[in-house]
């Protein structure tokens, strides 16, 4: 029984945690208040540390820590609230190229993504609604991409986009350079202004298929894998929220006692702890499935995603509530976690989508 990250990855975690504690502190607040949606200086450092290439083989400029390595770093990024296009670039764009690109695309695109000189984003949604092939209306025909994608997280700062498109009845993924003519970007106001979100319009813009990603199942395969990585990022945020709430409950006094001595607070935080432990365990199984290519990837990913979404939303809400009046002031960090929790829960299919996907997989397995 070895259901824990390796000692090597424990060291990676410790290094990431310590680096982010020093360098990412205040990153989300600066990004929020200055409306940059992005901490460019931190991004450069993160690129130099190799994190963006954690799951990219060394042959393509990565450091080859594997998917479990990326999970560990994702959790720390989530804990720190760093305002980075980390998920868009490392969990989605780079993974898409790695999974579905041909040799030329990998060699051309991955090294820049690994070092951070390229920033990837993932353009799937075209307005409200859960991911579905019918909702993909952008067209790639004859090497020209036309359509409007919104919202695209980090769409305003990315250099390349992996885009869900259709060619007649077939849906798949293509990759487009965002510096070419025909691309226009409009920033979108969102519930978490510490993160960049944009609408991307493509007007006969040059783009190329990722050859392995033709058909909706390939898109879903990418989503499943990314869901595990998002779950770790959410888990880190949830744990940080609980830690913050517990520290405040120990420090703050009312009625002559620490507020953490009231059962209303104690049981609230116990509920949060339980949600986080269930999420952590599901995320661990997701990491195992990701690394080992287990047969139940969809169940593993869906369960990790559903549990992590619940944990971070609950933890950030109740952290704010535990802080009382200070919790809803702009100056407190409570809202940074609260905003990020909802942002991350929406970014890749919300909880209802993943619950439905999970039960679908269980029905299929049960019937098979």
């Amino acid at each position: 029984m070895n259901f824990e990250f390796s000692e090597e990855l424990g060291a990676v975690r410790a290094q990431a945690q310590s680096f982010l504690r020093t360098h990412a502190s205040g990153s989300a607040r600066r990004s929020l208040e200055q409306r940059t949606g992005f901490d460019a200086a931190l991004w450069e450092q993160v690129g130099r540390l190799g994190w963006l290439g954690a799951a990219i083989p060394e042959a393509f400029g990565g450091i080859g820590l594997g998917e479990e390595g990326l999970c560990v770093i994702a959790e720390e990024v989530g804990r720190s609230l760093a305002a980075l296009p980390f998920a868009s670039s490392a969990y989605l764009a780079a993974q898409a190229v790695l999974l579905f690109g041909d040799a030329g695309q990998k060699a051309r695109l991955l090294p820049d993504l690994a070092r951070g000189s390229a920033i990837g984003c993932f353009a799937l949604a075209e307005g409200p609604g859960a991911p579905s092939p019918e909702a993909v209306r952008a067209v790639l025909a004859g090497g020209a991409l036309t359509g409007r994608k919104a919202p695209v997280v980090d769409g305003g700062i990315a250099t390349l986009a992996v885009v869900a498109v259709r060619d007649h009845d077939e849906v798949g993924l293509c990759v487009a350079d965002l510096s070419t003519v025909g691309v226009s970007r409009d920033g979108l106001d969102t519930i978490d202004p510490s993160r960049n979100v944009a609408a991307l319009s493509f007007d006969r813009c040059p783009a190329e298929w990722l050859p392995g990603a033709r058909g909706w199942p390939a898109v879903m395969r990418l989503l499943d894998r990314a869901a595990v990585l998002f779950a770790f990022e959410q888990l880190g945020g949830a744990q940080a929220s609980l830690d913050m709430a517990r520290d405040y409950a120990l420090q703050r006094r009312a009625f002559g006692r620490q507020i953490g001595s009231f059962q209303a607070i104690k049981h609230k935080l116990a509920d949060v702890y339980i949600a986080i432990e269930l999420a952590r365990s599901n995320a661990y199984y997701g990491a195992y499935a990701l690394q080992s290519a287990a047969g139940d990837m969809t169940e593993a990913a869906s369960a990790a995603r559903v549990a992590a979404t619940h944990a971070f939303e609950l933890a950030s809400q109740e952290n704010l509530q535990t802080h009382g009046g200070m919790g809803f002031t702009w100056e407190s960090d409570c809202h940074l976690f609260y905003r990020r929790a909802k942002h991350l829960s929406l970014v890749l299919g919300a909880a209802p989508f993943w619950r439905d996907r999970l039960v679908g997989a269980l029905e299929f397995r049960n019937a098979a």
Partner: protein, 405 residues
């Protein structure tokens, strides 16, 4: 059972309706209340003057102070009718709802006579200064020091969560005058001119971006002893009068409800059909309908009691206890229905002009301001169900012997 007025109530309602029809514009969508800026305050003052002139201000107050000497039910009827019109009413809620009733209860008649009229006519606005950074749910834990100096008291410290402090003329102020006795026994109540030297008001920015509250800093502010309400050390008793009036004002909070969610659900898709056909969506719509209607009908039961001459009590705590977290849950669920587009908060782009995104950000304050979820449940448990109070370790010790937070 019926929902009809008594003949007296019906006559009063007709009188109110005639006044409003002649003096105000009916609401045309929206709450009718814009941001609370200078021009809003000026409009509010003008409207209050008009109300007072027509005899609809201070409806339940004694005639000798310029009130109408009416019944609580008449107050409710006036509010029901006024809510149909586009008038700026909230600016005076705290002053007329809480501060002036406290003044009338504790000030000498000649002092009340000086202040009640101007407040009633909208000439002077009042705010309430109780909470402090270290004393929120536990108001009696406040630290603001008032020390006697000849005929004055000298006040130093900080208040917080003071609604309307930046446009108020007077304030009701709870202070600690004796830290050497147990916490509830060392408090004293004053009122003061908010333009007194040494008073500084700063707006608090909330996560929703608005600023409904202020911090108020006191540096050597002098208050004449004549502006004391109640005896020194009796401030907690005076404050309970104020807070009792606060409780009566608690209603359900504004925000999106099952109706808005039903509207959204008809336009969103789940598995290729309208979300309103999805079982999980329907379950929530039903449960939120039941909650909302339950609160609405509970209010009718309380109004019936009021109409029969009884006074509503701590039962009113259930409004906020239910609706605050409901709004947060509805907002969260609605964003999930939109999926990734739920993050977009631009009213031009987001479904239904971003009511759900806005609610996500303002709803956490609803679970805290005016009594946290936890405090409301304690009130219900103790004051409605008669369960024992929490064990108190701070009742008998001298305040300055308690550990600070």
């Amino acid at each position: 059972m019926d929902f009809a007025d008594t003949p007296d109530e019906a006559a009063f309602r007709a009188e109110v309706a005639a006044f409003l029809k002649a003096n105000a514009r009916p609401l045309a969508g929206g709450s009718g209340e814009g941001p609370v800026d200078d021009s809003h305050v000026a409009r509010a003052r003008a409207w209050q003057a008009r109300r007072a002139e027509a005899g609809f201000a201070g409806i339940t107050w004694p005639r000798r102070f310029g009130g109408r000497g009416g019944t609580p039910m008449q107050q409710v009827i006036y509010a029901q009718e006024e809510a149909k019109y586009d008038v700026p009413a909230h600016v005076f809620e705290i002053g007329l709802g809480m501060c002036i009733p406290t003044l009338m209860a504790y000030a000498p008649p000649e002092v009340s006579a000086r202040y009640v009229g101007p407040a009633l006519r909208g000439e002077e606005i009042w705010c309430q200064l109780f909470s402090e950074p270290g004393a929120g749910s536990d108001v009696a834990g406040l630290r603001m020091r008032a020390e006697r100096d000849c005929e004055d008291w000298v006040v130093n410290g900080q208040k917080i969560w003071t609604s309307g402090a930046h446009f108020s003329d007077f304030g009701l102020l709870l202070t600690r005058t004796d830290p050497g006795v147990p916490k509830h026994r060392g408090l004293t109540m004053f009122f003061l001119d908010m333009r007194s030297p040494g008073v500084e008001v700063r707006r608090i920015r909330q996560i929703s971006g608005t600023s409904n509250f202020n911090e108020v800093f006191f540096t050597d502010v002098r208050i004449p002893d004549a502006q004391r309400l109640g005896a020194p050390g009796e401030g907690w008793t005076v404050a309970l009068t104020t807070l009792m009036h606060e409780r009566l004002a608690i209603g359900s909070l504004p925000g999106p409800d099952f109706g808005e969610l039903l509207e959204l659900a008809k336009t969103m898709q789940v598995n290729g059909q309208p979300a309103s056909r999805d079982g999980a969506v329907r379950e929530r719509l039903a449960d939120w309908y039941v909650q909302s209607k339950g609160l609405e009908y509970t209010r009718m039961r309380m109004l019936t009691a009021l109409s029969r001459g009884q006074m509503p009590g701590p039962e009113a705590s259930i409004y906020k206890a239910v609706s605050a977290s409901k709004i947060q849950e509805i907002a969260t669920f609605a964003l999930d229905l939109m999926d990734s587009a739920g993050m977009v908060s631009d009213p031009q782009t987001a479904p239904m002009r971003a009511v759900f995104q806005e609610a996500l950000l303002y709803s956490p304050a609803g679970r805290i301001a005016g009594g946290t979820d936890e405090i409301l449940k304690n009130i219900i448990a103790e004051r409605v169900l008669g369960l024992p109070g929490d064990i108190r370790v701070d009742r008998e010790a001298a305040f300055n012997a308690l550990p600070a937070s």
